[in-house]
Amino acid sequence: MSETILRVERLRVAYDHPRGVVRAVDDVSFSLRPHERFGLAGESGSGKSTMALAILRMIKRPGRIEGGEVWLGDTALSGLDTDRMRALRLAGIAMVPQGSMNSLNPVVRIRDQIGDALADHGVGLKGRALAERVRDLLAQVGLPPDVARKYPHELSGGMKQRACIAIAICLRPKVIIADEPTSALDVVVQKQVMQTLGRVQQDLGAAIILVGHDMGLMAQFVDRLGIMYAGRLVEVAPIRDIITAPRHPYTRMLIESLPSLEQRGGLRGIPGLAPLLRELPPGCAFHPRCPAATERCRSEKPAVRAMGEDATVACHLA
């Protein structure tokens, strides 16, 4: 078996709702190799952000982790107390949350936001030492030193996103989770920010989980891609294989719904509506929208099967 840095085992997360339980992450397993770039794509509301938060044990009520385990190297995260878990965030696994560039504190200078993040993790730096550390971090994400003195509103979207990356990497994490880091940016700036993120990841020797629904971005950036549908990880495969030979019908239809830049016409979404997470259909959750569904798909939930060393699929027909 190949080496892994992060292992997610049978993770389950639910949100308690007055009208029923929403199972947002349902029995998800995958593992990440050191230095690997792993993408997580799928339908809006399929549980991607929930899974990212659950890996860091940051699920808040009405949500709860129902079961499963996350391993960082040899450490099982569920066994850690609050303090050790907090120490592990940023230093072990760091997150750039969805919409984070808009949640920078508007009245605190960038330098002090980085200082606070460090202090939160027991690295209390002051004066010259802090200034130097901040300058290094900003340089790493391609920002000029004067950004340290600025407030978020004085920065462009791309610069704010870089500042968020600087905060995330301030303790040299082994795994970086970036949740839709560029979806609010235009394509030119998106490309610059992703190149920065990729270079930082290489400098740190970290692995990365990139959450998003831009398949072009995934194609250009990640090594392997996981596809989520209705809380389950329905397919994982090397990005090349996902693009050329997707195994799950949902993956195939998702790729077919991508707009071409070569030829006009034929734009079409997947027919039907996404299922209600609190009332999933029996069998495979995708069966009502699947053109190939059989009797078995309507009654029996497909298990996740390994397809070689680095791919899995949950479909009776694959």
């Binding site: 809006s44 235009d186 734009l267 509506l273």
Partner: protein, 327 residues
């Protein structure tokens, strides 16, 4: 009959001197529906154009007219007509919802106000059809408060509302920025169908060039408050002339097994020149001349113009009336 919407030399400078849009002329008529995409980097003036066209802000130069009347001086009755004829769908629609009303309110109110249905049941059926066409389950959405929905869901309700009203023009500012590819395709094809079947004009503002290419007929590229390039989508996307448009299209990450997404990690730091071309500081083809003079739109074909001196052999457009370029 006079045009549905007529922008004549419309520009906007905000208090404090920020020039958000410079002199745009664009005419939309009811008998010639158009599907126009507006693209460009963040801060280039796209939303400003939309807000001017909707009468939400007053232009500092030029006028915006609705069927011949200045949008800034409409009577109450004419304003009501305008609100029916021209619908907006915004990027983050949270502010248009009243947090104390269920989301049903934004759908039932226009049905009543514009008498779209003869009975409650008919109204309800109209609303449900509109919701389904944007991929929402009526039974899941109706009865909820705005904060109980995701951003993508709130966005789609606004699209459903626009569909419900069947206006003459829909101005959609990043209407699908928060949803996945399949849903994007579903929603945009329903807009396209409305355009084709009901003759509704659509102004689609977006960062997503690939969907713009798929659903729009014409495209306007804004760069730092001015039109850099405009014309038929096939020409602008397949054979972009302005170096900024080329950079934009070259930056789109492609869904392919080839990793060809390389290039600049950081933009050039120099400030744009006051007098010359706004793109000169980043342009690989800039010459001395580009720093001295602002290029007008050069019309290289009936349906294609670019504001770049590389095209200086083509005739310059004196009136800069974009409509003449658009399909």
């Amino acid at each position: 009959m006079s045009a549905l919407i007529d922008l004549h030399d419309v520009g906007k400078t905000f208090a404090g001197g920020k020039v958000a849009l410079e002199k745009v002329s664009l005419t939309l008529t009811a008998d010639q529906p158009r599907f126009i995409a507006v693209v460009g980097e963040s801060g280039s003036g796209k939303t400003t154009l939309a807000r001017l066209l909707l009468g939400m802000i007053a232009p500092t130069t030029g006028t915006v007219r609705y069927q011949g009347d200045d949008l800034q001086r409409l009577s109450a009755a004419r304003r009501r007509d305008f609100r029916h004829d021209v619908q907006a769908v915004f990027q983050d629609p949270y502010e248009v919802y009243n947090p104390f009303y269920r989301v049903d309110h934004v759908l039932t109110m226009p049905v009543r106000k514009f008498r779209l249905a003869r009975s409650r049941a008919e109204g309800r059926a109209l609303i449900e059809t509109a919701l389904r066409s944007v991929g929402l389950r009526p039974e899941e959405i109706l009865g909820r408060y705005p904060h109980q929905l995701s951003g993508g869901q709130r966005q789609r309700i606004m699209v459903a509302r626009a569909l419900l009203l069947k206006p003459k023009l829909i101005v959609a500012d990043e209407p699908v920025s928060m949803v996945d590819a399949s849903l994007r395709a579903t929603i945009l094809t329903s807009l396209r169908r409305l355009h084709e079947e009901m003759g509704i004009s659509i102004l689609y503002i977006t960062h997503d060039l690939a969907t713009a290419y798929q659903v729009a007929d014409s495209i306007i590229v804004l760069y730092r408050a001015a039109v850099a390039e405009a014309g038929h989508v096939e020409r602008v996307v397949k054979a972009p002339l302005h170096p900024y448009t080329q950079l934009l299209i070259g930056s789109i990450p492609r869904v392919s097994t080839e990793r060809d997404w390389v290039g600049e990690e950081r933009p050039a730091g120099r400030a744009p020149s006051e007098t010359g071309c706004r793109f000169a500081d980043r342009c690989p083809s800039a010459t001395e001349h580009c720093l001295l003079q602002t290029p007008p739109l050069f019309r290289v074909a009936d349906d294609h113009a670019s504001a770049c001196f590389l095209q200086r052999n083509a005739p310059a457009m004196t009136d800069a009336q974009l409509s003449s370029l658009l399909a």
